[in-house]
Subunit: 131 residues, 2 copies
């Protein structure tokens, strides 16, 4: 059961990054719980609260020219009953310059009747890439 949950959480976590990379608002919308309680902190941003504000931020980000690509490393999943915490590094592949940057992310999911949904995403820039 624990392994099934871990796999299900990782699948939704991957769906989040696929939606992010492909700038697919519908897919991003499916990942999230649609409630006033969700929170999203983009790197350098204030915390956005509620699906209205969070979805608006994805709409704005996806409308920009920049397409982001991530190499995800150091993923850790901690399932505690109906709640799962995923932490990982988002290693952004730089466009042109070659030099990327790393964002430390915490993604929080809850299990609903029809699957896991994201209720929090918090990304923060890592000042010095380790290693």
């Amino acid at each position: 059961m624990a392994e099934i949950d871990r796999a299900a959480v990782l699948a939704v976590n991957q769906a989040f990054y696929t939606a992010f990379e492909t700038a697919d608002l519908d897919a991003m919308s499916e990942v999230w719980e649609h409630s006033d309680r969700v929170v999203c902190t983009h790197p350098g941003w204030s915390t956005l609260r509620g699906w209205g504000a969070v979805s608006a931020s994805w709409y704005a980000l996806f409308g920009g020219q920049a397409r982001l690509q991530f190499i995800l490393t150091r993923a850790q999943v901690d399932v505690r009953g109906p709640v799962a915490v995923v932490t990982l590094d988002e290693n952004l592949i730089g466009e042109g310059s070659g030099a990327g940057s790393t964002v430390a992310a915490l993604n929080l999911f809850v299990e609903a009747a029809d699957g896991w949904r994201m209720i929090a995403h918090h990304g923060s820039p890592v000042a010095d890439r380790p290693g």
Copy 2:
């Protein structure tokens, strides 16, 4: 019940910031779950995992000269059964210069037999203070 949980979560959340401000390692230790699953992301840092690494970071931070003081604003508590998510802004009071900075924080707590324990802290610098 929900209000009791909210109050209990906010009390532990406050204990975290009091321990932080007073550089009290014992008090900080009491706030956290002591397990390999806890995670802590200080602003600009990579994510630290496990109580060993997390406690070492507090030991290092508390050994420094700087004492931090926070004004906490925009606190929101979301209790979901045995898990609680607190988001807030940590407004750091600058020493001397007067200009402070704001950290967007997400604090995650789980309910143990003897009370709520922190299992994740993620703080990220806000590029522009709102307002």
